[in-house]
Amino acid sequence: MSDAVSDGGSDASHDDGQEDVMTPAELIAKLEEAWLNERFSPELLENRSEVVECVMEQLTHMEENLQRVKKGDAKASIHRMEIDRIRFVLSSYLRSRLQKIEKFFPHVLEREKSRGEGDPSLLSPEEFAFAKEYHTNTESYLKAVALKRMPPNLQAVDLLKTVPEPCLDSFVFLRVKERQENILVEPETDDQREYVVDLEEGSQHLMRYRTISLLVSSGAVQLI
């Protein structure tokens, strides 16, 4: 856990210093934030395995406690309901990351390859293994069903070129958590001019993901 936190330490905008004194309730809120951001962002976001691991710990701990409780205990059934709800968010979060890895695998792996030493990794170790395996499987499948029957000079496929990249120009809906000043909105047409907007705390907006992607990773805005 402590290692995972210091990994992200190079990014000053993260409130990682706080992470080890987070209450369980704050931890769950962090998981839900990560879940919604991942669901709505066009690209794969940086992994939050430190949050995932802490939530898993909490769940395991709670389940162990529940095993010692008598059957039919009123409190236990309420605890179980809460556990189910947290598990739902957790698996939906991890699943939406896997879906994006499947969709963008060559680019995800490329970014991982070009990552500088000390930069936080986009993928958790498990996700990295998944992405690599998915890449190998896709390549060998294409080879087996089609490519090997092609003329020899046409057997290569560059997956980086054939698999589309995430479109960062997609629009997203967001809610502001920390006030931001002077966000530059690029013009859409030639006869429009660029202009700046202030994002007030609690306000909601529709705009291009590219404009606010850094604010999503810093936690200043929440995708909705």
Partner: protein, 211 residues
């Protein structure tokens, strides 16, 4: 010569681009009127209308988009591509007057995507084509949205039939948003239904058992 066995056709103006996208593949099969600007020896089989072995310079024929694109070069004129009539000035005037009257399914069905692809071939009309594509999309947006949301509870099938393939995809995504909401509202969403995959699997197993 490229050594790639797959040539994606950018910029896939589609909702979901994918390197094995069927829409993409169908789009690249759309035929374009072309005129050869030099002789094509031993390629007579490309022109279904004659039995000759070679194609001589100045032959007018139709080629699929993927082939026209592969043969087209800006510097060396191998062939020139004529605009299909729906992208020519006459039709552009119609679109600019009222984009909603046009049956884009009949005129397309890849009006937007093919139009975007045509910009690959140099033509002085390109800026006008690009502008018409955009304005047509914007002009028809309200109709696409209203029909997908069935805002007025009218029969939309006639309207849907006239949508371009891209608009149809949007129509469907609008409709599924509405349907999801309505079945949630009625409480139907809470009932789990067996996936069609499972149902088909059961049928297959049955079929296998039966002699």
């Amino acid at each position: 010569m490229e050594t790639q066995s797959y040539f994606p056709v950018p910029p896939g103006v589609a909702v979901e681009e994918n390197f094995l996208s069927l829409d993409d593949i169908l789009l690249t099969h759309e035929r374009l009127p072309v005129r050869t600007e030099c002789a094509f020896p031993r390629l007579g089989f490309l022109d279904k209308s004659t039995d000759t072995q070679d194609i001589s310079e100045g032959t007018k024929m139709e080629l699929p988009l993927w082939l026209s694109k592969a043969l087209y070069e800006r510097k060396r004129r191998v062939l020139s591509v004529e605009l299909p009539k729906v992208y020519r000035e006459g039709w552009r005037t119609v679109f600019n007057a009222d984009p909603n009257v046009v049956d884009l399914h009949k005129m397309g069905p890849y009006y937007y995507s093919l139009g975007s692809q045509l910009l690959h071939f140099d033509s002085p009309e390109n800026p006008d084509i690009a502008q018409t594509l955009l304005q047509t999309f914007i002009g028809r947006f309200r109709r696409t949205m209203d029909s997908s949301q069935n805002a007025y509870n009218e029969d939309t099938s006639a309207l849907v039939q006239r949508l371009d393939s891209l608009e149809k995809v949007l129509f469907r995504s609008g409709q599924s948003g509405l349907n999801d909401f309505q079945s949630w509202e009625k409480g139907r969403a809470a009932q789990l239904t067996a996936s069609t995959l499972v149902l088909n699997y059961r049928k297959r197993k049955l079929a296998e058992v039966q002699p």
